[in-house]
Amino acid sequence: MIFSIVVQAAPYSCQSAETALRFARSLLEKGHSLHRVFFYGDGIHTGSALASPPQDEINIPADWNTLAAEHDLDLVVCIAAAVRRGVLDTNEAGRYGKSGSNLAEGFELSGLGQLADAIAQSDRVITFGA
């Protein structure tokens, strides 16, 4: 079965941010495919390269990156939600005249059309952290 996941939960604020990650791992282990993970609302903070959790805590952004590399996942961060909250790639940093960018490796900024596409392409769309 083809899944897509929508993450609206901010990492470290909501348990559902971690639950989404565990759900993604589980469905891949069971042999399903994950078409796209779409980070929306406060969930966009998952794409911050600057997150620096203590060593003995789960590193949610890094774990998504690792999972994405293992399974060639499409991690899309909603551009409108991200730019508003200060998660920018180099393009957006340039556009808004910011001194640095902080979108983590393995993530890309894109629009809500990617969510519409995920809905169209997936058998199941699961929301975490609404």
Binding site: V6, Q8, Y40, G41, D42, A80, A81, G111, L112, G113, L115, A116, D117, I119, A120, Q121, S122, V125, T127, A130
Partner: protein, 121 residues
């Protein structure tokens, strides 16, 4: 896109306390642009999105009512409201600025059954 999935958006949050209501509208409008059939259900605190006379500017927010009113222009006219939530929050159907079809719990179960994808905000 392979086919047109029927999308149900469930709004469960009051309009301004969190970004959910605005986020939901943006998703609805985007799916509308892609000509996907959209239904929107207002339930729990989400019923407050349907009342009028928001003074959103007083708390530094943009008024969402105009956006809701614009939905039919995007062919989004399937709006539903949970009767039980209206009752719980002391609202009457007549007090709503935006019209929506009232549904009881059984009808909401059927509404969910009738859609391919459910997104919650």
């Amino acid at each position: 896109m392979p086919d047109k999935k029927k999308v149900l958006i469930i709004n469960r949050r009051a309009p301004y306390g969190r970004s959910n209501a605005r986020d939901s509208l943006d998703v609805a409008l985007t799916c509308g642009v892609f000509e996907m059939p959209i239904s929107i259900l207002f339930a729990d605190d989400g019923v407050f999105q349907l009342i009028g006379n928001h003074q959103a500017g007083d708390i530094g927010q943009k008024n969402l009512s105009a956006n809701l009113a614009a939905l039919p222009m995007y062919d989004i006219d399937q709006l539903f409201v949970c009767t039980e939530s209206l009752n719980t929050h002391g609202l009457t159907f007549d007090s709503l600025e935006h019209s929506a079809t009232q549904l009881d719990q059984t009808a909401i179960q059927q509404l969910i059954q009738d859609h391919d994808v459910v997104l919650t905000f």
